[in-house]
């Protein structure tokens, strides 16, 4: 690598001025794919250079800059200043509305957990697509619970801590029942007076699920 091994050449060529040595090291460290050791620097610089001293100057020059000269083991490299690390992350935030299928599925899991896919479909009265379940799993709002001890041992779904966090709930049991939903005016389709009894029954079913909650 070095072309100045020869003692005759050594005396013939004087080492470049320190400012120039600094420039050279700056370029080498910049272009190198790995941190560069002092020995490697010495071998790549013209004969008579003092890379250790040039490094000191260079380090000082980059103090407080957007990039710093850092030591990595016994090698040297440029690195982004630690306080600017956030600039290296590009965050794009997208807000999407959860689809109706997803929110309904999520609601059923929350109120009926642990619940199987077949049960979700029965309650919704429509098939639940794999994609909907996957989306909720990926968002970490639902997760797999214990397998149901029935033939076929179907998997069950339960809501997660993240779900509770997101919706500001202590536990899924805190979800209001139907009666409360109605009292809060969340049920626009008020049932006929005659069927009120029925509603309570259903609510029973809901609260009845609570024994099955996994906590």
């Amino acid at each position: 690598m070095s072309d100045t091994e020869d003692p005759v050449e050594r005396s013939l060529f004087e080492a470049p001025p320190m400012a120039e040595q600094e420039r050279m090291i700056e370029a080498i460290l910049f272009a190198s794919a790995e941190p560069v050791t002092l020995a490697e620097l010495a071998s790549r610089l013209p004969h008579g250079c003092d890379p250790a001293e040039a490094l000191l100057h260079l380090r000082k020059r980059y103090e407080g800059r957007g990039v710093n000269l850092v030591r990595v083991g016994d090698a040297h490299a440029f690195r982004t200043a630690p306080d600017l690390g956030h600039l290296m992350r590009k965050e794009t935030v997208e807000t999407r509305k959860l689809s109706r299928a997803a929110i309904e599925t999520l609601a059923i899991v929350a109120y009926h957990q642990p619940v199987t896919r077949a049960e979700i479909e029965e309650i919704r009265g429509v098939a639940v697509s794999r994609g909907t379940i996957d989306q909720l799993l990926e968002m970490e709002w639902i997760r797999l619970g214990r397998r149901r001890m029935t033939p076929g041992r179907p998997v069950t779904f339960v809501v997660t801590e993240q779900f509770l966090d997101h919706f500001g709930l202590e536990s899924a049991r805190d979800l209001p029942g139907l009666k409360e939903l109605r009292a809060a005016g969340l049920l626009d389709n008020r049932p006929l007076p005659g069927s009120l009894q029925k509603t309570d029954d259903e609510e029973e079913t809901v609260t009845g699920q609570s024994e099955l909650f996994e906590d």
């Binding site: 370029a27 910049f30 272009a31 190198s32 794919a33 790995e34 941190p35 490299a77 440029f78 690195r79 982004t80 290296m88 992350r89 590009k90 965050e91 794009t92 935030v93 997208e94 807000t95 999407r96 509305k97 959860l98 109706r100 929110i103 309904e104 999520l106 609601a107 059923i108 929350a110 109120y111 029965e122 309650i123 919704r124 009265g125 968002m139 919706f167 500001g168 709930l169 979800l175 209001p176 139907l178 939903l181 109605r182 969340l186 049920l187 389709n189 049932p191 069927s195 029925k198 509603t199 259903e202």
Partner: protein, 261 residues
């Protein structure tokens, strides 16, 4: 290649000999007739703007002749150029025909000179371009780029209210289902699906949907309607899954199905 072909060489200048050799040794090395013309034009040792097209035409035709004598195969475009130059040469030598309203021979010659000059200019530009400092050879990019990590954060706008509304919607829908209280006379699609799943294994041939209806569900009209509807929905679902094939001769004709092989 006989020795005779080389006897004339003594009369050529060194530059001409070089081009002659270039042609003879590597006629494929020329990038087309224009390239050959450019090469030949250099032997005139004048600025391309003052080149004698007449002389150039002679040189070109001479070389084509020579290539023929050497039985070198010249591509068609070289021969087209030769024909065009022969035509141009005759036009340049003859007095202009006053009845000809096309471009004059001088205009054609000037255009050829322009083409040569332009090609030459592009060659020089290319050489200057390649002589520039180049990335990865003379100057360098950061060797250790710190990749920008891209986080795509998707937030969903679902709120607790949305969640509760959704649930309420589902549950209240149940409340208004007229058959909920009358399960005795309702055959659900799930039940039908389960039955069909077992039965379809035997249905290799076309058979009517009604033949699959369960016993005891055909006397009461309500039960018959319910089981028919449930089974119809079930086979539609199975057709969707690719398990059965359905057909119907015409509107209101019996629906037939068979297992899909």
């Amino acid at each position: 290649m006989s020795d005779d072909d080389w006897t004339g060489e003594e009369r050529l200048s060194p530059a001409e000999r070089v081009t002659a050799e270039a042609l003879i040794v590597d006629v494929d090395g020329f990038e087309g007739p224009l390239d050959l013309l450019l090469m030949l034009s250099r032997t005139q040792k004048v600025d391309l703007r003052r080149i004698s097209i007449l002389q150039l035409a002679d040189q070109y035709l001479g070389f084509v002749e020579k290539a023929r004598a050497l039985r070198l195969e010249l591509a068609a475009d070289y021969l087209v150029m030769a024909a065009w130059l022969a035509f141009l040469k005759s036009r340049l030598l003859l007095p202009p025909d006053p009845t000809d309203d096309g471009p004059s021979a001088e205009e054609l010659a000037a255009h050829l000179a322009f083409q040569l000059e332009r090609l030459q200019a592009m060659r020089e530009a290319a050489a200057r371009l390649m002589a520039r400092d180049q990335l990865g050879r003379d100057f360098f990019a950061r060797g250790l780029p710190e990749d920008v990590t891209r986080h795509r954060k998707v937030t969903y706008s679902a709120t607790l209210i949305d969640l509760m509304r959704a649930y309420a919607r589902i549950r209240t829908k149940d409340e208004f289902r007229p058959f909920v209280m009358d399960r005795d006379h309702v055959f659900t699609m799930e039940q039908a699906l389960e039955r069909m799943r077992d039965l379809i294994g035997f249905a290799g041939d076309w058979s009517e949907l009604t033949s699959f209806l369960p016993d005891g569900w055909d006397s009461n009209p309500m039960r018959r309607r319910s089981s028919t509807a449930a089974h119809f929905a079930a086979v539609l679902e199975m057709a969707k899954r690719g398990q059965v094939e359905l057909r119907q001769g015409e509107t209101f004709a019996p629906i037939q199905l068979r297992r899909k092989s």
